[in-house]
């Protein structure tokens, strides 16, 4: 049986924690990116501009 107190075992655990935490950070970043896209830079849907104009014209009429 290996002794878990060896530097190799400790660095292995640190490495694994880094892998797990690193992917979590990426996932969080993706989540934030999606949020900003949705809330701040909402891409125009096809025809959305036309619909807005149409609604304005209807309001004036």
């Amino acid at each position: 049986m290996t002794n878990g107190d060896t530097p190799k075992a400790v660095s292995r655990r640190t490495f694994i924690k880094g892998v797990i935490a690193g992917s979590a950070a990426v996932a969080s970043a993706n989540y934030l990116f999606r949020a900003s896209t949705f809330l701040g830079q909402q891409p125009q849907q096809p025809g959305s501009s036309t619909r807005v104009h149409h609604q304005k014209l209807q309001a004036k009429g």
């Binding site: 049986m1 290996t2 002794n3 878990g4 107190d5 075992a9 400790v10 292995r12 655990r13 490495f15 694994i16 924690k17 892998v19 797990i20 992917s23």
Partner: protein, 152 residues
């Protein structure tokens, strides 16, 4: 099987799987690491069977307090071990184990939960033992070093 051995086997297995995933192998056939991947996964399966019970025995033997808090977390560990076991066994029954498949297994939240459970409980056991001013603990992956320099 002792807790230290179980913990090391799981960490070693995950470390190997990370390396295997990075190799871009289409199958476990025809390569040295491909031949080893099933061996590592089988070792992890053997280790996961009875993992929580081993920790439970250690906790009770040490008389750690409060027992209900340890038991609650051991229940979590047991669930995560079972979930991880299901994922690994699913991979093992596949005719070919590719790097991509192992990459997805590595990304499994169940395996990651299990690993972080082990890290947490191992640290707790170590801390408890330090508090009790023990020279060594008979379990845990990271053994204590006596202040005088003696290793466990």
């Amino acid at each position: 099987m002792e807790i230290e051995e179980r913990c090391n086997t799981i960490e070693e297995g995950y470390e190997f799987m990370l390396a295997y995933a990075a190799q871009g192998l289409p199958s476990d056939e025809g390569s040295r690491s491909g031949g080893e991947v099933r061996e590592f996964l089988n070792r992890m399966v053997n280790t996961l069977n009875g993992l929580a019970e081993s920790y439970e025995t250690a906790v009770w033997n040490e008389g750690l307090e409060p027992p209900e808090k340890y038991q609650a977390f051991l229940d979590v560990l047991d669930r995560d071990a079972r979930d991880s076991l299901a994922a690994i066994e699913l991979v093992l029954v596949q005719p070919a184990i590719s790097s991509q498949l192992v990459d997805n297994l590595n990304a499994s939240i169940h395996l990651r939960a299990l690993l972080t459970d082990l890290f947490l409980v191992d640290e707790l056991l170590k801390t408890q033992s330090q508090a009790a001013d023990l020279v060594a603990i008979p379990f845990g992956c990271e053994r204590l070093t006596h202040s005088g320099g003696r290793t466990a």
